[in-house]
């Protein structure tokens, strides 16, 4: 059997049945063994019950996204079988709990290799602990598809040893029981067998939310305040643990308005400050985002988007807060929106978000999303010593100090409390250069121009827009956020078929990176913008700014694109 360089496995079952921990285990183990990994999870919005799903992709090479085809589906219960059975790919494999579990008859799907593993039964009857069902399943799957069993055991040991050798042993026994069942009762029929990797010392496996926390830590965040909300809360978990270690402070605020108020106060005091939230919180923060813009206080807001509007689909995937982030706030407020495509971006673009906020003295939003936030993936370990860290321009010179001075760069000197001769009033009222209330026409025009024009050179300062252009391509794709990884893979797929296509990956979403964008638009008569929202939000924004009419490919079923969907669309419109 030839080994596969790339394999996608999905585990499905009831939330709480250990789907997530089994998935995490095999993900960690695979990464430990030197494979690249990327996971995708969906949870029910309820604490208990409901279908949960954990999907992991292993690869020898960089993994760009969740993938198009699920090679192996492993279902823990009847609901998971029902949810998945209709979508099983031709030639893929299914592992299911039978007999002795919820599934009452043998499953046969034409074209699908089906393996019955009595997970519940082995766990309950042979091992005496129903909770070990997930490890039995994991053992069976590992054996069937050549996953690194040693690494899995090492991972179990690393994780459970602090709970005692018995816990490790119980898990080992369950894994072994799964392996044994396969060896003794099943015949391998499918062609999937994962290649093995070589352990790399500089790999880490981290979730998107943790990565944003880590980015903040590396950027030098000193103060963080947030209110819990799915799917953003893990950013706070990370910082709750790590920020105090470097003498920073985390405050859990009474609501999102308080949390953004907290960070505005802290930033006025000189601390690099951040909050993290999701859509409902971003809505509540609108007034104070405008205030930070008006009073020119640097703050960073991570918005991990979820399905909307209102409470919507709190645990589902959507990219639908862009219009609010870019065009929200009453009045004309200048602000910046940045969007990471994957885990590495979550780290490095969060650092850049701080750089932009500190340099330009305004609110910067980092738009992540639920599937990216919950995703864990392997990446090269970041080296803190190599990062660009930009700090705000602090004045200690009280001579002719004007907090809102109209300068050539339109960026004004900022002072910190405690500095003699530099006192001023940070204010949301329209103000003079010295910060006194001032309502004249000329002043309002000058100040509003200043606040917008200071961003004129932003694209040069933050040039992370990547253009992957192909000579002679008519079609250009523009994508954003976590859709980018999917598009990258789709572009590779269609190019392999000889289709000419270019692709633009803007990381700066607002204000639009006009130099790179206009060049790309000029070069491609046809523009396709795939995104996961109803209104085609980026398409709307780009059309609104440039007048170019893109083809909007908007899906909004709470799930990300697959590369195959994008590839098909490319073929349709090219």
């Amino acid at each position: 059997m030839t080994k596969r360089n790339d394999l996608v496995i999905r585990f499905g079952g009831e939330g709480g049945e250990g789907i997530i921990s089994a998935g995490d285990m095999v993900t960690q183990a695979a990464a430990r063994s030197g494979l690249e990994v990327l996971t995708f999870k969906t949870f029910p919005a309820e604490i208990r019950g409901g279908y949960a799903m954990y999907q992991v992709r292993f690869s020898k090479d960089t993994v760009l996204c969740e993938g198009s085809v699920i090679d192996v589906t492993c279902v823990f219960n009847k609901e998971a079988l029902d949810v998945n059975i209709g979508g099983l790919a031709e030639g893929s494999a299914l592992v299911y709990d039978y007999p002795g579990g919820e599934i009452k008859e043998e499953v046969n799907v034409p074209g699908v290799f089906c393996y019955a593993v009595p997970m519940s039964k082995i766990a309950k009857d042979d091992l005496g602990t129903y909770r070990s069902k997930n490890m039995v399943a994991l053992g069976a799957v590992a054996e069937l598809f050549d996953l690194p069993i040693n690494s899995i055991k090492e991972t179990i040991e690393a994780k459970f040893l602090k709970k005692g050798q018995e816990v490790v042993d119980i898990n080992f026994k369950a894994i072994d029981a799964g392996i044994a069942h396969v060896k003794e009762n099943l015949t391998k029929k499918d062609p999937y067998s994962m290649v093995s990797g070589t352990r790399k010392e500089d790999t880490i496996v981290i979730s998107g939310n943790d990565a944003i926390g880590l980015g903040a830590l590396l950027a030098g965040v000193e103060f963080f305040s947030a209110y819990p909300i799915t799917p953003a809360t893990e950013v706070a978990y990370f910082l709750a643990k790590h920020l105090p270690r470097k003498n920073g402070n985390l405050v859990q605020a009474e609501d999102e308005i308080a949390s953004i108020a907290n960070i505005i106060g802290a930033s006025f005091g000189g601390a690099k400050s951040m909050t993290a939230t999701s859509g409902p919180g971003l809505s509540l923060m609108q007034e104070l985002i405008g205030m930070a813009s008006m009073s020119e206080v640097p703050i960073v807001i991570a918005d991990v988007q979820r399905g909307g509007p209102s409470t919507g689909l709190p645990t589902k995937h959507e990219q639908s807060d862009l219009l609010l982030a870019a065009l929200g706030c009453h009045g004309d407020a200048s602000k910046v929106v940045i969007s990471p495509e994957g885990i590495e971006d979550c780290v490095y673009l969060t650092v850049e978000a701080f750089n932009v906020a500190e340099k330009y003295q305004l609110p910067v939003m980092v738009l992540s999303d639920g599937s990216l936030g919950f995703r864990t993936a392997s990446m090269k370990r970041p080296d803190p010593s190599t990062l660009r860290i930009v700090n705000r321009d602090i004045t200690t010179n009280g001579e002719n100090f004007l907090r809102y001075k109209l300068t050539e760069s339109n960026i004004s000197p900022m002072s910190l409390p405690g500095t003699e001769g530099c006192a001023y009033i940070s204010t949301g009222l329209e103000h003079s250069e010295s910060s006194a209330p001032k309502y004249t026409s000329d002043n309002h025009v000058a100040m509003i121009d200043k606040r917008f024009n200071k961003l004129d050179d932003l694209e040069d300062f933050f040039p992370e827009t990547e253009a992957d252009c192909e000579e002679g391509a008519e079609l250009g794709i523009i994508s954003w956020g976590s859709t980018i990884g999917v598009v990258r893979e789709a572009v590779n797929m269609v190019r392999a078929e000889g289709i000419k296509v270019s692709s633009l990956y803007p990381k700066l979403i607002w204000p639009l990176p006009r130099k790179a964008l206009d060049k790309f638009l000029d070069a491609h008569p046809k523009i396709l913008i795939p995104e996961v929202n109803k209104q085609g939000q980026l398409a709307k924004v780009i059309q609104g700014e440039t007048g170019v009419k893109p083809i909007s490919y908007a899906i909004y079923g709470g799930m990300p694109f697959t590369p195959a969907m994008i590839a098909d669309k490319i073929k349709e419109v090219v």
Partner: protein
Amino acid sequence: MSTNTPMKAKDYKSDIPPTWCPGCGDYGVLNSTLKAFAELEIGIHDAVLVSGIGCSSRFPYFVKTYGMHTAHGRALPVAAGLKVARPDQEVIVFGGDGDGFSIGGGHVPHIARKNTDITYICMDNSIYGLTKGQMSPTSEVGMVTTTSPYGAPDNPINPVSLCLTYGATYVAQAYSSEGKVMQELIKNAILHKGFSFIDIISPCPTFNKINTFDSYKGNLERVPEDHDATDLMAALALANKPKARGEVITGLYYQVERPTLLDRLDEVRAKANASDDFDPNISIDEYRP
């Protein structure tokens, strides 16, 4: 908190003249505050006055220190973040009854229970001044205002009682015309470690024709000499004694010490073995598979 030459109240005055109406109670609060500042020798660049929106919230403009004029109702959480980031600064919040107890009312319980190390001075005129005379959360039932032409339907809240219940560790009541009393209370509030709150009755002669300087005449009392300011129940009883908004008992209701927000965050950092030299590689290590 100290400077070289002794400061006078007027040294703290900024170049911006107050925009308050003649006769506004807020002038008295400003005067007593500046006198308290002078007495404490507050460093002009070591204090930040934070406010929301309202007539009273214009306060920071009239003082030479640093200031933040934020959004309606949000002064407290802004001030809290500032204080955590800059424990070296004296952070004092000034605002109105509407700003603090209507739109901002959701923040007070949390600032208080955390014993946040700031001082909060509410200039309470039982009306919305800046927006020209609507009923406020401390307006009396039946009061005729622009939004209550048939009389205000809602029972007022009692800011002193609220802050006591929330867990503020210094709670006082003052009256804009009692300069000396007010000055002393403000001074001690600033000196207090933890969250200190003073409700200052500060009449709005322009829009509140019920609670006027005249109406308070003869209705003022002082906190009794024998009041035990460490007894929460006694303080609550005192706060609930006045039968109407027109009766005011000025003085210190309550003062105790308990760990403040800064103390508690210090504990957190101690448990985390905090260090300025913390190497983030240690955090990164935890993500090795």
